[in-house]
């Protein structure tokens, strides 16, 4: 099995994402911005958007 990797994190709440991970973190003002930024990044990076259902989106390459 190939390994999945988190490419980008897009979060509404800064406190949910700690420093020190190896994925860049984008902060979005509201959900609309989060949706839009996630969509654009997923197309650029050829990754898939995942929703942790707590205000954090991930772009993951499978």
């Amino acid at each position: 099995m190939e390994s999945e990797s988190i490419l980008v994190i897009i979060t509404l709440k800064r406190e949910l994402v700690l420093e020190g991970g190896n994925a860049p973190v984008f902060f979005a003002q509201d959900q609309e911005e989060q949706e839009r930024v996630s969509f654009v990044l997923s197309k650029i990076l050829k990754g898939m958007i995942h929703d942790l259902e707590n205000g954090v989106y991930l772009i993951v390459r499978h």
Partner: protein, 296 residues
């Protein structure tokens, strides 16, 4: 001489009728036909030469058959290599199990062509002419048709019930009848999947079928063939529209979600039913004593 000619022609004919191409079979282009007909001709010739040579007490003919077997093993690796090289270019890959299955069939069909040639040549050489010619060719053609009917891939439709279902979302979780397919982020993508996605449930008839369908290669083959027939609404930058085949770990049922290019459910069901069961992944726990104890 006549025996060899009759055997070679009948054997090549046998290879020709086994070289059908439908949507899933691989030689769909003229060059693919040329390669396999040429190799089929060689196989038939070797098969046809053996009986007259043996009748003339030239027993070294047997070694030719052995060399031929060695040669034809290369056909399997040739097919495997060329399909493997294509894998990266497929939007939905075939998977290594499917490729292995296809490659084995190409090898086996050469042996069948050889067998048909062997039978024809033997009959022509043994039975006095002119009856020998008719009996030989007739027998060869009959064997070719019989082998073609007997040796075939079973299909998913024979080992499982395939029916339509529908996609539901619970939060970001995409599900089909309780089977979790994937976590899908992005409201826009969820709406697209809801609108265009087709869902299929595959219910195995017994424990054998359940074990076979659990194989990842078999599942990939189902996804590949479904896409081959219906197309897929997907490009390289849309991994979220990749067809998914997931298993219910309790019941062994499979669920598939497909963003079909041609969203026709009936066509999809027919395509999934006709997906071949890859022979190398077939599991038969029910034919063991221990497996039958667990079955009830």
């Amino acid at each position: 001489m006549l025996a060899i000619a009759a055997g070679t022609i009948t054997g090549t004919f046998a290879r020709l009728i086994m070289l059908r191409s439908d949507y899933r079979q691989y030689p769909s282009v003229p060059h693919g036909y040329v390669i396999h007909l040429a190799l089929g001709l060689v196989a038939a010739f070797i098969g046809a030469v053996a009986p007259p040579a043996l009748l003339a007490r030239r027993y070294e003919a047997a070694t030719f058959l052995a060399i031929a077997a060695q040669q034809f093993r290369d056909i399997r690796s040739m097919e495997r290599d060329s399909l493997m090289a294509m894998e990266d270019t497929e939007l939905v890959s075939r998977g290594s199990a499917y490729i292995e299955g296809i490659a084995r069939i190409f090898e086996a069909r050469n042996y069948l062509a050889m067998l048909v040639a062997l039978l024809t040549s033997t009959l022509v050489a043994l039975v006095p002419l002119p009856f020998g010619l008719f009996i030989g060719v007739g027998g060869g053609v009959l064997l070719a048709i019989l082998l073609d009917k007997l040796i075939y891939w079973r299909t998913v439709g024979e080992i499982a019930r395939v029916r339509a279902s529908k996609i539901t979302f619970r939060g970001a979780s995409m599900e089909v009848e309780g089977i979790v397919m994937a976590n899908v982020g992005g409201e826009r993508i969820r709406q697209l999947i809801q609108k265009r996605g087709l869902a299929v449930i595959i219910e195995p008839f017994d424990d054998n079928a359940s074990a076979t369908l659990a194989n990842l290669g078999q599942r990939q083959a189902i996804a590949h063939d479904a896409v081959a027939v219906l197309g897929v609404t997907k490009d390289v930058e849309d991994p979220e529209f990749t067809p998914l085949v997931r298993r219910n770990i309790e019941t062994g049922r499979l669920a598939m979600v497909l963003m079909a290019g041609e969203p026709d459910l009936e066509s999809l069901l027919a395509a999934v039913r006709r997906v071949p069961v890859i022979e190398n992944v077939v599991h038969k726990p029910l034919s063991t004593k221990a497996g039958r104890i667990a079955a009830d």
